[in-house]
């Protein structure tokens, strides 16, 4: 009799059921999340199979015939795709670098500023643009740089010839990077400032006694103090290098350059969304998958490298 009860108690299913019952309220609280993540994140992952199918809207995603890697071959053969990929890589990686530098430099300057009130005011101002949408910023940009905009007014007033800023590709790249710093440098500096505030003051005092200059203190104390946070944030941003900023590109691209400078996301949006030829759907999905896989591989690689150098990774 006793043997039976013991074996019943150890029955893995019963054990599981008993444990689940103990935390039934927590499970009730997590259930909506599971449903949401399955529907809105995992079902689209299942949709990746579209990349390996020739999509037929009548048959639906599941019943459309497989076509192996044909979609990918199509993508890699497409002469339009590689410039887009190149743009994405350039814009994405330059933005990571300047975003990082902008945030760190702003943080160091704010940290070194000794006038407390000024510091607070400036911090409020420089963090504010983060809360604007790229739509609003595009309004500012066009009013400044359009052919009949403010900058050309100044040029003309000082006797120069007006410039077609918004038809100029190199200028557009500059605009992307400049507005990115304008919008995010202040916001990005917050985390570094908080880290700097956590550096023990006695390190600076010891350096003072040794007669270190401001610059030496920044180089030997402040920068090493924010190193691990910086590496952590860099790893996180590397995974998004191919995202490169859909919102920004879509809104800032002037009409004259529309379709001429695309990144992967805007390329997919312009060519494969909405009323499109069903044969194109698989190709669009293949581009999307290509992007996701590269991002994933990059995060893992950078994480490994960081760990090899003795830093805390994220995975």
């Amino acid at each position: 009799m006793e043997l039976v009860t013991i074996s019943r108690r150890n029955n893995p299913f019963r054990k599981f059921g008993r444990k689940a019952l103990q935390s039934k309220y927590l499970i009730m609280m997590i259930l909506p999340a599971v449903v949401f993540y399955v529907i809105f994140n995992y079902l689209p992952m299942y949709g990746i199979v579209l990349a390996f199918k020739s999509f037929n809207p009548i048959k639906g995603v599941i019943n459309s015939p497989w076509n192996g890697f044909d979609n990918f071959k199509e993508v890699f053969k497409d002469p339009n795709f590689w410039p887009v990929f190149g743009n994405t890589l350039i814009i994405g990686s330059v933005k990571i670098v300047i975003g990082f530098l902008g945030a760190v430099i702003t943080a160091i300057l704010l940290n070194e500023l000794r006038m407390r009130r000024t510091k607070k005011t400036i911090q409020t101002i420089v963090t504010f643009p983060h809360f604007l949408s790229w739509i609003v910023i595009s309004g500012f940009v066009f009013s400044l740089f359009a052919y009949h905009g403010a900058v050309n007014s100044v040029i003309e007033a000082s006797g120069g010839q007006p410039v077609q800023f918004l038809r100029n590709k190199p200028f557009f790249f500059f605009l992307i990077f400049a507005t990115d710093i304008w919008k995010e440098a202040g916001w990005g500096s917050i985390i570094y400032l908080a880290t700097m505030a956590g550096i023990p003051q006695d390190q600076y005092e010891a350096a003072d006694i040794d007669g270190a200059s401001r610059l030496q203190k920044i180089w030997h104390i402040t920068l090493p103090g924010i190193k691990s946070v910086a590496i952590l944030l860099l790893i996180m941003s590397v995974g998004g290098v191919l995202s490169a900023g859909f919102d920004q590109l879509l809104n800032l691209t002037p009409r004259a350059l529309e379709g001429k400078i695309d990144i992967i996301d805007t390329y997919i949006y312009r060519n494969y969304i909405g009323e499109v030829d069903p044969s194109q759907v698989g190709i669009g999905a293949a581009i999307g998958l290509f992007k996701s896989v590269i991002g994933f591989v990059l995060v893992i690689t950078v994480d490994r490298i960081a760990k090899a150098f003795g830093e805390r990774g994220i995975i």
């Binding site: 609280m29 909506p32 689209p44 299942y46 949709g47 101002i125 739509i135 400044l144 009949h148």
Partner: protein, 301 residues
């Protein structure tokens, strides 16, 4: 007390003198930062001046540092523009309904994941973390929304955003940092998990709730992405989409002007202020909540 001071004196330079001594480099730093701040303020100021100038003044010179001919027609036109008011209505709906909806689901998920071991916790946690690094992409998502019947519906701007992973982890870390003894004593008094959450943990996490709620609120105020992709009916557009439309009209007007009666630049700038003034008014007072959110999130996350 006196002994302590004596000990400190030779070792540490007096703090106050170190703080107040302003060197040349401080002035340089100050100038750089003030310049950066002015660079940020300038587009706002310039847009504001355009919005309160007359069309004539603007067409003579589009670089306006100071309003020469005050004219509020642009604002009159903006306030009588039904598209904008309609967009405002949709945006307010997103702001209130969307924010509460997101807050509710994000907070309960964060709480459940902050509790000690329970069956399936690790599984769910990993399932959520994977989505931070890998996704299906836009096209499968597009067909998902289509098959859920949410095309062209206001719901598409609310329903899918129930849980934001970053904010959820923020809440989870906060709940996990509160002393676990409170939960134990509540359990001993016979409270279940939901009662413990509502009566004990929720009241203690109001500052963090405010932070996460504000992140959601700003996101909803600025939301346009889902509307652009899934909503073609412009009467269901939020404010930002209406603004996007106006800006693209304005930019083509500014590249190749056609003779029109309306002052589309001034009107667009006025519309921009119509959408950012609420954030501008609240931001200085709410800044600390945002700062707190990003600091807590990045250091612990």
């Amino acid at each position: 007390m006196k002994k302590q001071q004596l000990e400190r004196l030779p070792l540490r330079p007096k703090r106050s003198s170190r703080e107040t001594r302003i060197q040349g480099i401080d002035i340089v730093i100050c100038i750089i930062l003030v310049f950066f701040a002015l660079l940020i303020i300038f587009p706002f100021w310039h847009a504001f001046v355009i919005s309160i100038s007359s069309k004539d003044a603007y067409s003579r010179n589009s670089f306006l540092l100071w309003p020469t001919e005050l004219d509020f027609t642009a604002y009159k036109m903006v306030f009588s523009d039904m598209r904008l008011w309609n967009g405002y209505k949709i945006t307010l709906l997103l702001l209130f309904v969307g924010t509460l909806y997101q807050l509710f689901f994000t907070v309960i998920t964060g709480y459940a994941l902050s509790r000690k071991k329970w069956v399936g916790k690790n599984f769910v946690m990993n399932m959520i973390l994977v989505t931070m690094f890998f996704g299906g992409g836009l096209i499968p998502y597009y067909y998902l929304i289509q098959s859920l019947g949410m095309m062209n519906s206001v719901l598409v701007m609310i329903i899918p955003g129930a849980i934001d992973t970053f904010n959820m982890l923020l809440m989870r870390n906060y709940f996990a940092s509160l002393p676990a003894e409170m939960e134990e004593s509540a359990k001993i008094d016979g409270a279940n998990d939901i009662v413990t959450f509502v009566k004990i943990f929720l009241p203690l996490s109001l500052p963090m709730l405010a932070t996460v709620g504000l992140f959601f609120a700003v996101g909803n105020w600025n939301s346009w992405y889902n509307a652009m992709i899934f909503i073609s009916d412009s009467s269901k557009w939020p404010l930002q989409m209406v603004l996007k439309d106006m800006i693209s009209e304005m930019s083509s007007q500014m590249e190749t002007p056609t003779a029109t009666e309306t002052f589309s630049e001034g009107m667009t700038m006025a519309a921009i202020f119509f959408t950012i003034v609420p954030i501008m008014c609240f931001y200085p007072f709410l800044q600390r909540f945002f700062v707190k959110g990003i600091v807590v999130g990045a250091i612990k996350g």
